[in-house]
């Protein structure tokens, strides 16, 4: 398989540099849960993507996946498999049938713990697939700030191009927005050129209004992405909570001109769900966001379901998971 020559990705938009902390921008905002849920629940019913359009959307979804393994028992071998899958996410006969070039079709990134960065970077080699590392005491974030910053620096040094940080839930729960801003901003500085995704852990935030405010603070502090969850909370990415977050992304762009990316993570396992997320993004943010620079799925098993759907599209027969190479 030919290796892609370019390792650096060209970004279509200017990187968010953040803005000075200004609570007046978000303090008055309130979110109506029922109305948000209503919108979220009808979105997937107002839009439907079928046939070749669906196949195209699913291919797009794959390019937006942060293929992830975040387990205590991760070793070199399963990380290697993950990277191989990231490089060749779909069986080449299926891709060729869809008119795609298998040598130039990859997932958005691979996402691992710090200890597995080196392995991953090694396996990915020259492919244009960034290695992302979860950081700052992921998933709970219950370590000193100093340690968090050190972790980021180490991960960047180890070759991570993207850093997924977690916010201190205590600061969110106690509405210490200024402190949260400072912490995220320091993390962003520690990231340097690496892109930073800020995980709000929305499953542990009691109200949508707080989710909205935490989103604002994270973006003000310079996050490149805001991300719903670690995948370890009892409730992970949901459409309503995503809706709240992406509406803040829209407003942030209106205010600052910067486009911030969005990453739902955890619980997204089915192709149908992925389509709903893409519809949500298209409707609420627009087509600009429908690319891996600004949208990622944090998922481990989603790819498998999409592969089956694509084979079904190509063959007209329902597929089986064992027909697709595992990661």
């Amino acid at each position: 398989m030919a290796k892609n020559t370019s390792k650096t990705k060209t970004h279509l938009h200017a990187r968010n540099v953040g803005m000075p902390f200004d609570a007046d921008v978000f303090n008055h905002l309130l979110v109506n849960r029922s109305a948000v849920e209503r919108r979220a629940s009808t979105l997937g019913k107002r839009r439907s993507v079928k046939k070749q359009w669906q196949a195209a959307w699913l291919l797009k979804a794959i390019t937006c996946i942060d293929l992830t393994t975040l387990s205590g028992d991760d070793t070199k071998s399963n990380v290697q498999r993950l990277c191989a899958k990231a490089i060749a996410p779909v069986r080449s006969d299926v891709l060729l049938n869809l008119g795609m070039n298998p040598s130039d079709f990859h997932v958005g990134a691979v996402c691992v713990y710090h200890n597995k960065i080196k392995d991953a970077v090694g396996f990915i080699g020259d492919y244009p697939i960034p290695v992302a590392a979860v950081s700052t005491g992921f998933p709970a974030g219950q370590i000193p700030l100093k340690e968090k910053l050190k972790q980021i620096e180490l991960s960047v040094k180890a070759g991570a191009k993207e850093i997924d940080i977690v916010v201190s839930r205590e600061l969110v729960l106690q509405s210490k927005w200024k402190e949260l801003y400072k912490e995220v901003k320091l993390c962003r500085e520690a990231c340097g050129d690496a892109h930073m995704k800020t995980i709000l852990a929305t499953g542990e935030i009691p109200t949508y209004t707080k989710v909205l405010k935490a989103s604002w603070v994270s973006m003000m502090a310079g996050s490149d992405f805001i991300k719903t969850s670690t995948g370890k909370e009892p409730v992970n990415a949901t459409l309503p909570v995503s809706l709240v977050m992406i509406r803040s992304i829209r407003e942030f762009e209106e205010l600052t001109g910067y486009k911030v990316g969005f990453k739902p993570a955890g619980g997204i396992r089915k192709a149908k769900q992925a389509l709903n997320w893409l519809i949500l993004i298209k409707e609420e943010l627009g087509d600009d966001w429908l690319n891996p620079d600004l949208f990622r799925f944090g998922a481990s098993s989603l790819l498998g379901d999409i592969e089956r759907q694509l084979e079904h599209y190509v063959t007209g027969r329902y597929s089986a998971s064992y027909r697709h190479p595992m990661s």
């Binding site: 849960r33 029922s34 107002r46 839009r47 439907s48 079928k50 893409l278």
Partner: protein, 785 residues
């Protein structure tokens, strides 16, 4: 990343149409029957302009047959047990669910509305309505013990929610033991005809449901048919008024669900992004062809520009197209005539100087489409903010204060629904009761459920559909079978001889009572009151139209009664009873003097009057609402509210008790009253104002105008600022009241010349009075932090 087409298949729906050879007969007495005239009309798919099928036009002869079939089926149907009727309704519900996609596709083809709406909203609500009413059929004996079915019901439904409106009409009618003749709208009859198939499939007894298709003349034949005991209509206010006039004096019960120009009120602390989606659901749901569409956007000035901008961005993303495309938000307008109306009104709006905005994309050209349209800088005086457009057109204006928001919201002849957007529950629940509308949605809009009553205030009609409140439209109190054509008073030989009254003591000047003050008649005339033998016993003012005008103004001027708590009203009523008791002898003597009853009989009337006041004092803080079990996460508060200013014509008999029995229940529910007491025996009423004066009744809550009953009532029934009329008098007078009240759709309650036994508590008091004295407002409050 385009969506591409996502068409829903029309195969099964086509098969249904072909199964009927694309020519539909009438469904009468459980059989398909050709229209006597053989006249047919085309049913068109408005998204493609293609003909779907031909449907029959029923003539009055066909309607006669349908009514005869329903009449014949009635005894059998109403004598079934509630449980047996419940089984049929349950079977209908199941059958609709089993064929839900067929219904959805057919509805979408016929009406032009998006398949998403028929599939996710209309048809599930239809099934839910039949399930819910299967329950009411089962429970009728227990829950509606004092009521019985009305008989044959004529039902006329509109084209905007064809099958849903059918279910709102047929489910409660059948549950309560009535049989029906239903006319679907001429543009959209197909799902009703499919429904007829289902009635056959489940073995519904013949004649219980009859479906006659046709246009206005068919509807007219139903409305005017002598064997129709009730007319239920959903449609335009214009036709509603025609029906009100046509049925005046016939004794037919009517319920009308008419037009609207519903306010959609946005306060500055609302979740604006959610508001935008609310707006989409309010005015671009069903192409805005929704009677309760939130078509007037009222925005707090400080957030208006921000919101307008968001709405415009959202409008660009709306997708319009073939109704069977699963990827559209807006479908086709039902017919060219409607499209023309919308277009003309929009042009008018532009002419009148409002700012019009439409998205940059173009509508498809193969069907009847109209783009979503936003008007800003609209003033309340412009045509588009007053007239119901019934299309995807939103008119927006701003307000400065909460008070002004309420004023703008109520600045309309309609009162169907309202939507309030704020994250402040205190504000929401403060505003909701102030809006004149039958449904108020807080932070949501166009949400419906079978368990919640839907219907209007003002010219949006009267009656409720759904919930327990909706059942009363399809029953009558059993007690009315006991009412008589002659009054329940003992007609005994008059013992007293005619005597010449000589002035004794000081001459009494009986005045009228307006705004809490005794007032002389505008005309400066009085008339003599005599006892039954003809002896003059006093003089009272001869009120005229100006006195009525003054009384109505006084009734509106006081705000101090309607807003009181039940407890506070009860205190005043108890006090009233206390003060009446103190003057018992005086009132008894006055009754005896006017009626020639014995003093003992007269004392019984005073006692009964005191008893009655106590009854309503007791009820004042107990006749309350419900929290409905609706299907979404919210509390749906069904609150009985006062109607407003009500005119009352008291019965001629029982000078005191007749006054008390009619005025007090209205007061109990917080109405303000203009009373025309018994013309023959008005002196007990005029004496009563001294009781009112001493009982802390605020001035203006009760106004008494004496004089010629029919003349005064005619002025009151025509008065645009009177909200309801209660009339206890002659058949002809009843007819006049119903006829003249049509202009502003007053709620009327008349006796059609039939008399109650006012001394019998079962006749003279009860919850029926309180229901007539109030209207239910349903307030939907979703929750969740």
């Amino acid at each position: 990343m385009a969506y591409g087409p996502a068409p829903e298949s029309a195969k099964e729906a086509e098969a249904f149409l072909t199964g009927h050879n694309k020519e539909f007969a009438l469904f009468i007495n459980g059989e398909w029957q050709k229209a006597s005239s053989k006249k047919m009309m085309d049913s068109i798919n408005p998204a493609t302009k293609k003909k779907l099928a031909k449907i029959s036009v029923a003539s009055s002869k066909d309607v006669d047959q349908a009514v005869a079939a329903a009449k014949q089926a009635l005894p059998g149907w109403k004598s079934l047990s509630g449980h047996q009727r419940a089984r049929y309704l349950y079977a209908i519900a199941r059958q609709i669910q089993k064929h839900s996609r067929l219904f959805s596709v057919l509805e979408s083809l016929d009406n032009g509305k998006p398949i998403r709406e028929t599939r996710d909203i209309d048809i599930p609500l239809v099934a839910r309505h039949f399930y819910h009413h299967a329950g009411w059929a089962q429970l009728m004996d227990e829950e509606m013990a004092d009521y019985e079915s009305i008989g044959v019901i004529g039902q006329i439904i509109p084209w905007n929610f064809p099958l849903l409106m059918l279910s709102w009409k047929i489910a409660p009618a059948l549950a309560m033991g009535n049989t029906v003749v239903l006319k679907p709208a001429e543009f959209t009859s197909l799902t009703a005809l499919l429904f007829a198939d289902i009635c056959k499939q489940i073995g519904l007894p013949k004649g219980v449901v009859n479906i006659v298709t046709g246009a206005a003349e068919t509807g007219e034949a139903i409305v005017n048919h002598p064997d129709i005991q009730k007319v239920a209509f959903t449609g335009s206010t214009e036709v509603g008024k025609i029906i009100r006039r046509a049925t005046a004096g016939t004794g037919k019960k009517i319920s009308l669900e008419l037009g609207g120009k519903s306010p959609f009120i946005v306060f500055d602390d609302a979740d604006l992004d959610s508001v935008v989606e609310g707006v989409v659901d309010a005015i671009w749901f069903n192409q805005g062809q929704v009677c309760c569409a939130g078509s007037r956007l009222l925005v707090e000035e400080s957030v208006a520009d921000k919101l307008y901008k968001k709405i415009r961005v959202r409008m660009e993303k709306l997708r319009i197209g073939n109704s069977l495309d699963k990827c559209i938000d807006i479908g086709a307008i039902v017919a060219p005539v409607q499209l023309k109306t919308i277009d003309q009104l929009v042009k008018k709006g532009v002419e009148e100087g409002s700012q019009m905005w439409q998205p940059s994309w173009a509508c498809p050209t193969e069907g009847y489409f109209y783009p979503p349209t936003l008007f800003t800088d609209v003033s309340p005086s412009s045509t588009i903010s007053q007239v119901e457009i019934f299309g995807p057109v939103l008119v927006a204006m701003t307000f400065r204060t909460h008070k002004e928001a309420v004023k703008l919201a109520n600045n309309t002849v309609y009162g169907l629904a309202a939507s309030i957007w704020t994250e402040n529950i205190n504000l929401a629940l403060d505003i909701a009761p102030q809006i004149k509308a039958g449904t108020v949605w807080v932070n949501c809009t166009n949400v419906f459920d079978a368990a919640s009553g839907f219907g209007g205030y003002r010219e949006s009609g009267f009656g409720r559909e759904g919930g327990k409140e909706g059942l009363y439209e399809y029953v009558k109190p059993r007690i009315i079978n006991e009412f008589r054509k002659t009054p329940f008073v003992k007609t005994k030989k008059q013992k007293l001889a005619k005597t010449v009254h000589s002035p004794k003591g000081i001459d009494r000047t009986t005045k009228m009572y307006i705004g809490g003050k005794q007032s002389r008649p505008d005309g400066g005339y009085s008339y003599t009151v005599s006892d039954p033998v003809g002896n003059p016993i006093g003089e009272v003012s001869q009120g005229n139209r100006k006195d009525i005008r003054n009384a109505v103004e006084a009734a509106h001027a006081t705000k101090n009664w309607s807003g009181r708590t039940g407890h506070s009203k009860a205190q005043v009523l108890y006090f009233m009873a206390e003060n009446l008791y103190i003057r018992k002898l005086e009132f008894a003597q006055r009754i005896a003097q006017q009626t020639n009853q014995s003093l003992q009989e007269a004392e019984r009337e005073v006692d009964m009057s005191i008893d009655r006041i106590y009854y309503y004092a007791g009820m004042a803080d107990k006749f309350d609402g419900r929290v409905h079990h609706t299907t979404s996460r919210n509390v749906t508060l069904a609150m009985p509210e006062s109607i407003g200013v009500i005119a009352v014509a008291c019965p001629e008999e029982y000078p005191l008790l007749g006054f008390v029995s009619t005025v007090i229940p209205l007061l109990c529910m917080g109405n303000h009253v203009v009373v025309v007491p018994s013309e023959r025996s008005p002196l007990s009423a005029t004496d009563f104002y001294q009781v009112l004066d001493t009982s802390d009744v605020p001035g203006g809550a009760v106004n008494i105008v004496t004089g010629n009953k029919e003349d005064l009532l005619s002025v009151l029934a025509k008065h645009y600022d009177v909200d309801g009329v209660w009339y206890f008098g002659t058949q002809e007078g009843s007819k006049q009241v119903e006829l003249l009240s049509a202009d502003n759709m007053k709620r009327t309650w008349v006796n059609h010349g039939k008399h109650r036994d006012w001394m019998n508590p079962k006749h003279g008091q009860g919850q029926e009075f309180l229901r007539q004295a109030s209207q239910i407002k349903n307030i939907w409050v979703p929750y969740g932090a």
